[in-house]
């Protein structure tokens, strides 16, 4: 359980996050949406200890995030960003193994190697283990990063939850990959201790896959709940300043502009 309580964040006299409280529960796909500049990325940074909140606090289960050291946090929480460049030519295997670094010093154990292999299999990048990261396509690169991040939290911790935080990881990907990743996230959620919270840009993607949707606007929490509660014409118009057409069919929901 990832709990944010009264989170505010300011830069100078500009308020980027304004008193946000939200709970991300395990077993649900928690998706954060909002227009550009709504504070989505800032929220992700605050909940992954990249930025200290100006006020309020973040808790993983019962423990405040500030009580965790960076290495401690890295063993139970992984973060995937929009896109990751790698400065030097490394092969896929080496990149995925970085996910295990928080778990060993010196040489990887058999357990670490297994985690890497399984995570690579899960994201279908096993076959490219020996290829240089820089030679991969955008979609392949992101799958490798997914595998790295998943290998980081491959095994359940002794107690408490594992956390997977996503900062618009699908922004540069084709529909095919987007759907594929979302399906994989749903598959991961079958593991009882997995908490997943992520930013997505595409409202229809959120409508199709999100169990719990959080809509941010101008640093404030505009709505939070099921897609029926959050993705209303009114909320969307308030946030995006465009009047949407919302179609429902076969239990699905489609938003047109």
């Amino acid at each position: 359980m990832l709990t944010l309580t009264n989170i505010s964040y300011k830069v100078g006299n500009k308020t980027l996050l304004d008193n946000i409280s939200v709970v991300f529960a395990p077993g649900k796909l928690n998706l954060i949406i909002g227009p550009n500049g709504a504070g989505k990325s800032t929220l992700v940074k605050v909940m992954s200890k990249q930025l200290p909140p100006w006020s309020g606090h973040v808790q993983l289960d019962d423990r405040g995030i500030s009580d965790y050291s960076l290495p401690e946090l890295a063993r139970i929480r992984a973060v995937l960003s929009q896109h990751t460049d790698i400065a030097f030519p490394l092969n896929v295997q080496q990149v995925v193994m970085m996910g295990r670094y928080p778990h060993f010093t010196g040489r990887p154990s058999q357990k670490d190697k297994t985690a890497c292999r399984e995570a690579m299999r899960f994201f279908d990048v096993e076959g490219m283990a020996g290829r240089t990261y820089q030679t991969l396509s955008g979609g392949e690169k992101q799958r490798v990063q997914f595998a790295r991040v998943l290998s980081q939290i491959w095994y359940p911790p002794d107690e408490g939850h594992r956390y997977l935080i996503l900062d618009e990881p699908l922004a540069f990907l084709d529909v095919h990959y987007q759907f594929d990743f979302m399906q994989k996230l749903l598959e991961l959620l079958r593991q009882q201790d997995m908490v997943i919270a992520g930013v997505v840009h595409d409202l229809n993607l959120a409508a199709k896959f999100g169990h719990h949707i959080v809509l941010l606007n101008q640093g404030k929490l505009l709505a939070s709940g099921s897609r029926e509660e959050v993705l209303t014409a009114r909320n969307i118009e308030t946030a995006y300043q465009v009047v949407p057409e919302i179609h429902r069919q076969n239990g699905g929901m489609h938003i047109l502009f």
Partner: protein, 343 residues
């Protein structure tokens, strides 16, 4: 697996090349020393014999320490370069970039010029200490000035640009000192600024040997953290790396490695840039292997350069920095123009 095997085969070949170069360096120079003399001088010194011939003396007191110092210097500069490249996420960075070598040159120039004028002489340690002091001063200046006043963090670009400015400042200091210096001192400043291994002795070998061993061992412990840095600072932090601490450790290790070796040999450019680069191409960029691989390549390259510097104008010798620059500049430009690398 076959990749690892291939890499290990390459490492064995490199070690053999290093051994061969070292043997050639012992054998040839201003005076050629025959294998029999080399052999008998080892035997003579081991037996503590008093009657040791001139060739044997030259070998034991001059040639051998020089060959070892050269290997240690090459390794230190190359590891310093690898460390900085990982820190700056950029394969065309060299250890002098954060002001270390120009500071050392300034310290040495101060010693040559003012030391002679004011008769400051504290034995053979004065020059290395002065150079080290200068290196510490310039590098800490770069490090402190590059810290943003607002956040207390230093961005990589600011660090690079501050390094350029401080380098220019200290080099003009060196220029000023050689301008006001009298002839022999000015010559020392110039010669030292171009790098030379001719001052090698057992003291410098021991000091640099200890520093290199300690610093390279400590850098190996940072290898995993340095790897994560290739993903970017944020990602590295998500993997549990304390970036501020890592930056500090890397800068300190680099300053010590470069300052101590520069203190004994003068400014030797481009080895710290090119050795890690070839190590990457031949053996991969994983810092766990890159750091030792660069050390090996740095040692080989500087040994070859030193042999060349001694052989070209025999019995006189060329400053080694000139040799490394003549080879290094074109390679650097080719790398810079290549499409594989980016700022």
């Amino acid at each position: 697996m076959s990749d690892t095997k291939r890499a290990n085969a390459v490492r064995v070949i490199l070690l053999l090349i290093l051994a061969a170069t070292a043997l050639l360096s012992m054998r040839y120079g201003a005076i050629n020393i025959s294998p029999e003399d080399i052999f008998s001088s080892f035997k003579g010194y081991a037996a503590g014999s008093k009657n040791i011939g001139l060739n044997q003396r030259i070998f034991m007191d001059i040639r051998l320490p020089r060959v070892i110092l050269c290997i240690l210097t090459g390794a230190s500069l190359a590891v310093g370069g690898s460390l900085l490249q990982a820190l700056f996420r950029n394969p065309i960075v060299e250890p002098g970039l954060i002001g270390t070598s120009s500071g050392a040159a300034f310290g040495a120039a101060l010693y040559f010029v003012l030391g002679a004028t004011f008769k400051i002489e504290a034995g053979e340690w004065t020059l290395p200490v002065a150079a080290c002091g200068g290196a510490m001063l310039s590098s800490s200046l770069v490090f402190l000035l590059a810290r943003s006043g607002r956040t207390g963090k230093s961005s990589v670009v600011t660090l690079l640009l501050t390094g350029i400015a401080i380098n220019a400042l200290f080099m003009s200091g060196v220029g000023f000192l050689s301008y006001i210096a009298r002839d022999p001192q000015a010559r020392s400043v110039t010669f030292w600024g171009l790098g030379t291994l001719s001052g090698a002795n057992w003291h410098s070998v021991i000091i640099l040997g200890i520093t290199a061993l300690v610093c390279i061992t400590l850098s190996l412990r940072l290898a995993n953290a340095l790897n994560t840095l290739a993903l970017g600072e944020e990602e590295a932090q998500y993997l549990g790396v304390n970036i501020r601490k890592l930056k500090f450790q890397v800068l300190i290790l680099n300053i010590v490695l470069v300052a101590v070796s520069t203190a004994f040999t003068g400014v030797i450019s481009f080895v710290g840039l090119i050795a890690p680069h070839f190590a990457r191409i031949m053996l991969g960029s994983d810092n766990r292997t890159l750091l030792p691989d660069s050390a090996l390549l740095g040692a080989i390259m500087l040994s070859i350069a030193d042999l060349t510097a001694r052989m070209l104008l025999r019995p006189a010798e060329l400053p080694i920095g000139i040799v490394t620059a003549i080879v290094g500049v074109p390679v650097f430009i080719i790398l810079l123009r290549g499409k594989n690398y980016f700022f």
